[in-house]
């Protein structure tokens, strides 16, 4: 039995133990490179989450790739952040400095956009009602408190619609102009850009009209500047000034919508 293991009856073991052959090395290297670069593909195209370096990736990548959409583990790579990382990204989103894009370049996360949008949605609905009531009370002291539940629906549609649709539209536009960006990074950036509206909401409750307008214009400007700076870092060129201006205008329009609809 010393001439090797090829003479052993092992046909029943096919598939359970990967045969060690030289070409496995190249496929494992390829799968490593592929798995580390997969973060910019959305939805995930491999059938499951692969830790970088697994040599068995060669089999999994040839299975049908649409199943990756339905398995949770393939989305885990977009949530690979800790508490301090999220807090740091939030803080750096408030100041429109240009290092936010570099921070998320390696590890864009979807946790921030989702929960910032959800929080903003609830805050708008709640504080919008409070602000409307306070303003009406100031003008006409006989008004009673009413809770307009439609605010919840409107804020959900507005905020989630904005965060989902605008980065997607910009992704397609940038692809059309030849830039290879990643949809996840755009979603991440737009999501974090909404954080500044959360403290603004609380300030907007104050029933002084002029104060409200000043606050919202400041917030809109800061947020639009944040988007512009990061889009520029993303595209690394200034040829697309029209797109960047468009993004700024949209962000400012969102700020104005927040003021006019929820805090009239």
């Amino acid at each position: 039995m010393e001439e090797g293991y090829t003479s052993l009856p092992a046909s029943h073991l096919l598939g359970s133990v990967p045969a060690v052959i030289a070409e496995d090395k190249t496929t494992s290297v390829a799968s490593e490179a592929a798995s580390s670069a997969n973060l910019h593909l959305f939805p995930p195209s491999n059938g499951g989450y692969q830790a970088p370096g697994t040599p068995s990736g060669a089999d999994e990548q040839t299975t049908s790739s649409w199943q990756g959409v339905f398995s949770i583990s393939s989305y885990s790579s977009y949530f690979n952040v800790d508490t301090d990382v999220v807090v740091e990204r939030i803080i750096s989103s408030v100041y429109p400095m240009n290092d936010f894009y570099r921070k998320i370049d390696g590890n864009p996360d979807l946790y921030g956009p989702i929960w910032i949008s959800a929080t903003l949605m609830f805050m708008l609905a709640a504080l919008g009602n409070v602000g409307t009531y306070v303003m009406e009370k100031r003008n006409d002291s006989s008004t009673t408190w009413t809770f307009d539940v439609n605010y919840v629906e409107w804020s959900a549609c507005a905020i989630f619609g904005y965060v989902l649709a605008v980065p997607a539209a910009f992704y397609f536009l940038l692809q059309y102009f030849g830039f290879r960006t990643s949809l996840v990074r755009l979603w991440c950036m737009w999501g974090y850009s909404l954080f500044i509206f959360m403290p603004i909401c609380m300030l907007l409750v104050v029933p002084v009209e002029l104060f409200r307008w000043i606050i919202i214009i400041l917030a809109g400007t800061a947020s639009s500047w944040f988007i512009a700076v990061n889009l520029k870092a993303c595209t690394q060129s200034s040829d697309l000034m029209i797109l960047i201006v468009g993004a700024m205008v949209l962000q400012f329009a969102l700020a104005l919508f927040i003021k006019m609809f929820f805090f009239p």
Binding site: S76, V81, D82, V86, Y111, W115
Partner: protein, 280 residues
């Protein structure tokens, strides 16, 4: 069962081992083999050796499963057995062959079925929401989960809010129900995506049971009109609900991501609390 395992046991497996031992001692002279899930109708006549202590199929972990595996498999086994349990008045019973009275739940009075589910809801409630020595052991605490309790609480909360509202009652109910139901699903997905280890339906069940304090608070607020009292009552019940949910969620994820997993839970409960106060 193998006592001589060298694999170190999960800390919560010890309570499972104790329970299984009790089961075996209780049915000591039986060789009852309880199937993990009730048999399909085509195999309705499974012959089991007689046992003087027949256990309903969904009740406890069958002794045939080893107690050493990781904790989630134990709730999974109970979950598989319990999956067909919820509130059906027609059950698939195991019929024995001419040996004593089978635990045939198909012909029992409806009140027995309802009472059994109600006792289960109450016992789950006591485990989750009220202080008890098993709370620190998340694997044990809600092993016998089911979804009727959460369903009752969500519907009750929606109805109470709808009754309290003076205008747009149906929209209030719709918003409350949608937020709570989809919120529970999204919160569970959030924990799973952050790399946590929970069972999907067990977590849904848990988040639903932690709504019980808020449901009580909503009932009190419906009957009481003063805003200050409403704020106090809702704050107390909100704190109670968050306290109930905290150990389960925080034990499920990596400690560095604990705040990331807990924040959405608090967000949902605080939003519902605000909703309760704000509904006029």
């Amino acid at each position: 069962m193998s006592y001589g395992d060298t694999i170190p046991l999960h800390p919560s497996s010890q309570s499972d081992i104790d329970e299984v031992e009790n089961l075996i001692n209780a049915g000591a002279h039986s060789a009852t083999v309880l199937p993990v899930r009730p048999p399909s109708p085509s195999r309705a006549s499974i012959t089991v050796s007689h046992s003087p202590f027949p256990l309903p199929p969904y009740q406890k972990v069958p002794p045939s499963s080893s107690p050493t595996p990781v904790v989630p498999s134990v709730p999974a086994a109970a979950a598989a057995a319990a999956a067909t349990a919820p509130g059906e008045s027609s059950r698939i019973g195991i019929s024995t062959d001419a040996l004593g009275s089978p635990p045939d739940t198909l012909t029992e009075p409806v009140w027995d079925t309802v009472k059994r589910d109600l006792t289960r809801i109450v016992s789950n409630l006591k485990l989750v929401v009220f202080p008890n020595p098993y709370r620190e052991d998340p694997g044990r605490a809600l092993r016998d989960w089911e979804l009727w309790g959460p369903f009752f609480f969500i519907v009750f909360l929606g109805l109470t809010l709808s009754w309290s509202a003076s205008v747009k009652k149906s929209e209030v109910f719709a918003v409350a129900f949608a937020v709570l139901a989809s919120g529970a699903i999204i919160l569970t997905l959030n924990v799973l995506l952050l790399g946590g280890h929970i069972i999907f339906f067990q977590s849904l069940s848990l988040l639903g049971y932690c709504l019980f304090p808020l449901a009580v608070g909503a009932l009190v607020c419906m009957l009481e009109g003063n805003v200050i009292i409403k704020i106090v009552v809702v704050s107390v019940t909100l704190a109670w609900g968050c306290w109930a949910a905290y150990p389960f969620v925080s034990a499920a994820v990596n400690p560095r991501r604990k705040a990331l997993a807990l924040y959405p839970v608090f967000l949902m409960y605080i939003s519902v609390g605000f909703f309760i106060i704000a509904i006029d």
